[in-house]
Amino acid sequence: MSDEQERPEHRLRRELPAEVPASEPEYGGAPEPKESAEPQVTGRQRLWAGLWPPRLSRAQLIVAVLLFGLGFGLAVQVASNSDSGNVLRGARQEDLVRILDELDDRTQRLEDEKQGLEKQREELQSSSDQAAEARKQTEEKERQLGILAGTVAAQGPGITMTIEDPKGAVKADMLLNAIQELRAAGAEAIQVDQVRVVASSYLSDTDKGVTIDGNKINTPYRFKVIGKPQDLEPALNIPGGVVQTLEKEQATVTVDRADKIVVDALRQAKQPDYARSSAR
């Protein structure tokens, strides 16, 4: 504070003793002689005098050595501190123990969380597995029932039976016999001409010919039957069986085995009006 008040006068006087800087190099010496020069030289001038021109004095060298040490230590410390991996290097033992404890706690918590999540995941997975399994079974069952009910097409090994009836002697009951025989032999899907034969199918004689479920079928009657061919064919051909009975009526019957029979005549699924499922 007092400096500032005095300064204006100093500044004016400063011009006069211009040769003072000549004795300046030894300002680093004992403070005693400095006191007299003090009024003429401000701190800023001293700073400049110290910086420029560079002088190789003992004081400068010693200070340079010490500052070198300071700079070196500073840089080393900053460098080692900014290495993120070495954050723990300078830490104290109790800090390290605390950090370790915290990490253990955290690990424990995360482990618990992981277990919970894994359990949840397992539950979800198993439930979705179960749902998928149930859906698969339902679909499978639907297909099976669909084949029985005639709502889906079916294919597989089986036989074809063609009944040629030039005289029109074959009646509905004979065809029904044939169908019953085939069913008894394990036929799983039966189609006559373009009509699917299902559990509720009925055959009747009309004046135009035989009808199945009200659909007229024409000669030659072509049966497409899916089932085990080795069972179906003998069942038709047994003595006194279907084939013999039909041939007695002057009809010609040919039975062929085939590896692939396609039963593609369909029937609309019919919702029962009164019957309701009582299972479950």
């Binding site: 680093g28 401000t42 400068q60 010693i62 200070v63 340079a64 500052l67 070198f68 700079g71 840089a75």
Partner: protein
């Protein structure tokens, strides 16, 4: 000027060499650096005041470093190392600030 050069060379050397600090020194280096900074600021202020003495500077520099390291060492032995080194840093920081204020008054006249 040579002193400033010494500082610059020291920083550059420290950055280039990157020596491994011995484990024993690790805790003392930061405190020692702060103490040395305090000595440097004190020296700068003395120079601006015109009472700079290289002998005083050397002694104060080395004393600061040694005492600071000693205090930290003592604190570690007593089990209050962290608190004590914080205290040392605070005290040195206050000194650095007051020195810096004096330097500022010289350099900027404000």
């Amino acid at each position: 000027m040579i002193a400033v050069l010494g500082l610059v060379v020291g920083v550059v050397a420290g950055l280039l060499v990157r020596p491994e600090i011995p484990a024993v020194m690790e805790q003392y280096l930061p405190i020692a650096v702060v103490a040395a900074l305090d000595a440097v600021f004190g020296g700068l202020r003395a120079m601006l005041d015109g009472i700079f003495d290289d002998k005083v500077f050397v002694v104060s520099f080395l004393c600061n470093v040694v005492v600071a390291a000693l205090i930290v060492f003592l604190g570690d032995e007593l089990g209050v190392g962290a608190q004590l080194s914080t205290g040392v840093v605070v005290v040195l920081g206050i000194r650095i600030f007051s020195n810096a204020a004096a330097i500022r008054r010289h350099v900027f006249r404000a």
